[in-house]
C-alpha cells in the first residue's frame, strides 16, 4: 500500500471496496467510536496471491509484491 491517507479518503468517499472484493479479507478497516479510520489493516498472512487488489483498488494504491519465497497458500488439489 503506497499511502494510508489515500485509503482513509477512499474509506470516507467510496467505502473502501477492498474490504469487500478481497476474497481472503486481507484488507480491514476498523472505525473508532466516532466512525473514523486512520489506516487500513493488512492481514497479509491471509493473502492467497490472487492479485485482485492490485487490479481493482479504485485509487491504484496497492502494488502487490510477494512475501519472501515459500509464503502464501498451500493448495494441493485446486
Amino acid at each position: 500500500v503506497k499511502g494510508d491517507d489515500v485509503c482513509v479518503t477512499c474509506y470516507e468517499e467510496k467505502g473502501a471496496p477492498c474490504t469487500i472484493f478481497c476474497p481472503a479479507q486481507v484488507y480491514e478497516m476498523h472505525p473508532d467510536d466516532k466512525g473514523a479510520v486512520s489506516k487500513v489493516d493488512i492481514a497479509f498472512s491471509n493473502c492467497v496471491h490472487c492479485k485482485t487488489c492490485d487490479i481493482k483498488c479504485p485509487e491504484e494504491n496497492v502494488i502487490w509484491t510477494p512475501p519472501e519465497g515459500g509464503g502464501g497458500p498451500k493448495w494441493t488439489i485446486l
Binding site: H49, G70, K74, I77
Partner: protein, 486 residues
C-alpha cells in the same frame, strides 16, 4: 508509506550471483511445458550430426510457492490438444486426470430455477477434455521434468524463491535488456527490519528469462513500466476473479465426468460472471464462481456470490452431506487477443496468463499457455544456438505463436469478453451467435474489423496468418514436435 517491497532495495547487503542460460519465473503449466519442450529440443539438437552441440547449459525455474503447485489455481477443464503434442502417452505416464468430460449442462440461472440450454453452445462443448486439478497437474509435470536427464543440461527447479525485481542491463543503443531477476530476501519482519534468520535474496542472471507469473505479475508491472509492452495491444489487460472450493461429497450426488456451467443469478444485473461445477471422479466436486473485475459496481463480492450460488436448488443437492476441503481465489487474465502485450523483448519473454493467453469464450487458457511455453522453447533453442538474445531474435516467438493453432483460437474468441461485458444481454447473445458462424470471430461494432496486415504490422503485431497466407500455407504453420519422448 508502508512499502513491503523495500526489501528489493536494502543497500549494503551482499548478494550471491547465480548464472543461468535460461531462467523460467513461475512454475505454472506454461513455463513447465516450455521447460519440458526445451529439453526435448536440446536433446534433438544434440543428436543431430554435424551441428555445434549445446553443452554445459544451466536451466533454472523459480516459484514463489513453497512447493510446485502450491499457488496453481484453476477450475479446471483442460483441452489436451497441446499436452498430447508434448507427451503423446500422458495417460500412461500417470497424468492426474479426474476423468474425461462425459456429460455437461449450461444454465442461465434465476434465483429459484433457470433455463438450461438444450445444447451447450459450441465453445462450451467439452466432450473429450479432461477435468484436472491444476495443482496436481503442475506437480506431475515437474516430476516428469525432474525424472529426465538430458546430456549437457543441468535443470534446477527452485520452489520457495520469489522473484522480486527484474535485473536490467544497459545496451549500447540506449535501450535496456533483461538479464535475470532478484529473489526476495528471507527472514524479514513486517516493518522491513532483519530477523536473526535473515537470508539475502540472490541475483539470478540469465541469458533469457521467461516470465510466466500468472495474471498481473509484479515483475510484469516492472517490465511494463520500462518497456511499455502494452503499447502494441488494442486494449489494456482485462481481468476476472474466480473463487473456488473443492468438496468431498457422498457418492451418487454427482456423476463422474459431469460439468456444469452457469451464468445469471446471483450476479447483479448488468455485470458479467458465472460459475462452474466440475465433478472430480464423482467423489469430489470443484465449485467456483467468477466475476469480472471491470464491473461498474466495485463492491461485487465474488465470495458472497459463491455462497449464494451454492444454495441454488440445482447446486445444493450436489453438495448435500459433503465437506469442504480447500478453498482459494485468483485473478484471471481474460483480455485475450485484443489485450496481448508484446510477447518478447531483449533478454525476456512472456508466456501464459502474463501474456493474456486465455480464450474467454471457452473459459480455458491452460492449453494456450502451454503452447506459449512450447513455442517459446523452440525460439530459445534457436537463440541458444545462435547466441543471440536480442529483441529481434526472441520476437520470432510472437510471430510463431500468433500463427499457431493457439494464436488462431485466441483471434477467433477475441470479441467474446467485450460482448458479455454487461452480462448475457440480448445483443450480447446475438453477437456471440454471429461470431460462431464461419467468420473468424467477427462481431458487429468491432473497431478492428477493417484492419489489414499492414496496419497490424505498424502496431508491431504479426498479422494473423489467415489474413496473408493461402490455406495450404496455413496448415503447415502449426509447429510440430521436434522429437517425441522415448
Amino acid at each position: 508509506m508502508r512499502d513491503f517491497s523495500t526489501q528489493s532495495a536494502r543497500p549494503g547487503v551482499e548478494r550471491e550471483e547465480l548464472d543461468f542460460d535460461v531462467l523460467f519465473v513461475g512454475a505454472g503449466p506454461s513455463n513447465l511445458a516450455g521447460l519440458w519442450r526445451l529439453l526435448d529440443h536440446i536433446e534433438a539438437h544434440n543428436a543431430r550430426p554435424g551441428v555445434k552441440k549445446l553443452e554445459g547449459l544451466t536451466i533454472g525455474l523459480i516459484e514463489k510457492g513453497d512447493e510446485i503447485g502450491d499457488h496453481a489455481f484453476s477450475g479446471a477443464v483442460l483441452d489436451p490438444i497441446f499436452l498430447k503434442d508434448l507427451c503423446p502417452d500422458f495417460m500412461a505416464m500417470g497424468f492426474p486426470s479426474e476423468g474425461e468430460v462425459t456429460k455437461e449442462e449450461v444454465w442461465a440461472f434465476s434465483d429459484r430455477g433457470g433455463f438450461q440450454f438444450p445444447v451447450p453452445p459450441p465453445f462450451l462443448q467439452n466432450h473429450g477434455n479432461h477435468i484436472v486439478s491444476l495443482s496436481k497437474m503442475v506437480c506431475w509435470m515437474a516430476e516428469q521434468i525432474e525424472a529426465r536427464a538430458v546430456d549437457g543440461v543441468d535443470v534446477m527447479l527452485l520452489p520457495g524463491f520469489a522473484g522480486i525485481k527484474v535485473l536490467w542491463e544497459d545496451q549500447p543503443d540506449g535501450t535496456k535488456k533483461v538479464v535475470g531477476v532478484q529473489t526476495a530476501d528471507k527472514g524479514v519482519n513486517a516493518d522491513g527490519t532483519k530477523r536473526s534468520n535473515f537470508e539475502p535474496g540472490n541475483l539470478l542472471k540469465a541469458k533469457v528469462t521467461v516470465f510466466g507469473e500468472g495474471p498481473r505479475g509484479h515483475l510484469a508491472r516492472e517490465l511494463e513500466a520500462e518497456l511499455n509492452l502494452q503499447a502494441s495491444a488494442m486494449n489494456p489487460q482485462a481481468y476476472e476473479m474466480g473463487v473456488k472450493e473443492v468438496w468431498d461429497v457422498p457418492e451418487g450426488n454427482i456423476e463422474p465426468g459431469m460439468v456444469i456451467h452457469t451464468t445469471g443469478w446471483p450476479q447483479p444485473e448488468g455485470e458479467s460472471g458465472g460459475s462452474w461445477v466440475y465433478s472430480l471422479g464423482g467423489k469430489q466436486v470443484s465449485i467456483g464462481y467468477v466475476v469480472s473485475l471491470d464491473t461498474k459496481d466495485p463492491f461485487v463480492d465474488a465470495h458472497l456470490m459463491l455462497q449464494k450460488f451454492k444454495q441454488h436448488p440445482r447446486i445444493a443437492p450436489i453438495l448435500k452431506g459433503g465437506k469442504m476441503l480447500q478453498y482459494g481465489g485468483k485473478a484471471i487474465a481474460i483480455g485475450g487477443w485484443n489485450s496481448m502485450p508484446k510477447l518478447a523483448f531483449a533478454g525476456g519473454m512472456l508466456v501464459g496468463d502474463s501474456a493474456q493467453m486465455v480464450n474467454a469464450a471457452r473459459l480455458k487458457g491452460i492449453h494456450l499457455g502451454m503452447k506459449g511455453g512450447m513455442v517459446a522453447a523452440e525460439v530459445i533453442l534457436k537463440a541458444l544456438v545462435e547466441d543471440d538474445f536480442s529483441d529481434a531474435s526472441l520476437m520470432r516467438y510472437s510471430k510463431l505463436y500468433m500463427d499457431s493453432l493457439a494464436g488462431k483460437e485466441l483471434y477467433r474468441s477475441r470479441n467474446f469478453h467485450g460482448a458479455v461485458e454487461h452480462g448475457l444481454t440480448i445483443p450480447a447473445m446475438m453477437k456471440i451467435g454471429l461470431s460462431m458462424t464461419d467468420n473468424d470471430g467477427w462481431m458487429p461494432g468491432e473497431p478492428y474489423a477493417t484492419w489489414t496486415g499492414a496496419s497490424l504490422a505498424a502496431k508491431g503485431r504479426p498479422s494473423p496468418s489467415w489474413m496473408t497466407s493461402s490455406p495450404a500455407e496455413r496448415s503447415t504453420t502449426s509447429t510440430s514436435p521436434a522429437t517425441s519422448r522415448s
